[in-house]
Symmetry: C2
Subunit: 204 residues, 2 copies
């Protein structure tokens, strides 16, 4: 059986990533969402193992020091990380994995050199539209919006790290493009240790 | 504007290539079919410039000696070739080009080193199914079918040359996969001479 691929998805806040992932995930077989580890407290409604793997700071650091994370970061005093064993086991079972992380995490994944890894960046049509989307939520203070826009500019400058840029000017089209990237990758000829493409159909 | 890509499609006789290309071509914008040059006589119903560019043997050889073909071959005494200028001009205009050629032609294209070129191999589910399809046409002699099967085996051995293998076990799914490969390629970040990914959306 072919091993799966890892699709790392990043986007500036407001680019529509969460909506897009919810559209793509149920429409493709053998595609799983990677559940991160975190040390932050569980919020009402969150389920351990579905939303996050909730662990203590001690457990997290022990796992980290054993090289147990493909990437990790500290955000507002809480630790977040992607478990290496979990991702590698699911890929070995032939599952493709979707991983929702920021630019710094994507950079760590790239540097970790995981095979069959593809980095996707979801981009808003332009910064003016991003500002409009962030403002129209109506939930955030002007200072928060300004900070998100500054972060977005910085993240957009890292697009060169990524293999694909999906422009989210129309939701359906952007979702189709993410699906296409995953489907295309599944048809790619890869070579096994014997130099034989592993997508070669069997001949009797 | 981004330059287009060249998608080279090969398949053993009976793998369903012609049907698939007819399904894919009308469903994607900015996708054009490359019209080959040939020295063979025009058949009733064929239109110069649509089915082939019909040229004399002298014209063909003159063009060939100027390096005017990305690939060419002699088949049953007739010359066939893919015009370099035509393909490069259409790609420069931003069109993606579909090119339907055999394994030998695909190898020449790969060796010609055209940038943004992707090689797709359309494979039958297995050789038994291929034989069934070739036989069920009911138009060919047993010797012709045996020859086509022998050729198919040889072509299947060249799959390693290709970037993608599209298994044609179900027509609709195979057509979707070809579309996905083209759509995914259009979202790929490429680098221009300045090292800037050319899919980067504009910021105001």
């Amino acid at each position: 059986m072919n091993s799966g691929s890892l699709f790392v998805i990043s986007a500036p806040s407001g680019a529509g990533k969460t909506t897009l992932l919810k559209m793509v995930l149920p429409t493709l077989p053998n595609l799983a969402f990677s559940v991160s580890y975190t040390t932050r407290a569980r919020r009402p409604g969150e389920i351990d193992g579905r939303d996050y793997n909730f662990v203590s700071r001690d457990e997290f650091l022990r796992l980290r020091d054993k090289g147990g994370f493909l990437e990790w970061a500290e955000v507002h005093g809480n630790l977040y990380g992607t478990g290496r064993a979990q991702v590698e086991q699911e890929m070995a079972r032939g599952l493709d994995i979707l991983l929702d992380i920021d630019v710094q995490g994507a950079r760590q994944i790239r540097e970790a050199g995981v095979t069959n890894t593809w980095l996707l960046f979801i981009a808003p049509p332009d910064m003016a539209e991003l500002e409009r989307r962030l403002t129209s939520r109506g939930t955030d203070l002007a200072e928060i919006i300004a900070l998100r826009l500054a972060n977005a500019r910085q993240e957009m400058a890292s697009i060169g790290l990524y293999d694909f840029v999906v422009l989210n000017d129309q939701l359906e089209r952007a979702a189709d493009t993410i699906r296409a990237i995953i489907i295309a990758e599944r048809s790619r000829t890869r070579r096994n240790a014997l130099g034989r493409p592993i997508n070669l159909p069997e001949t009797p």
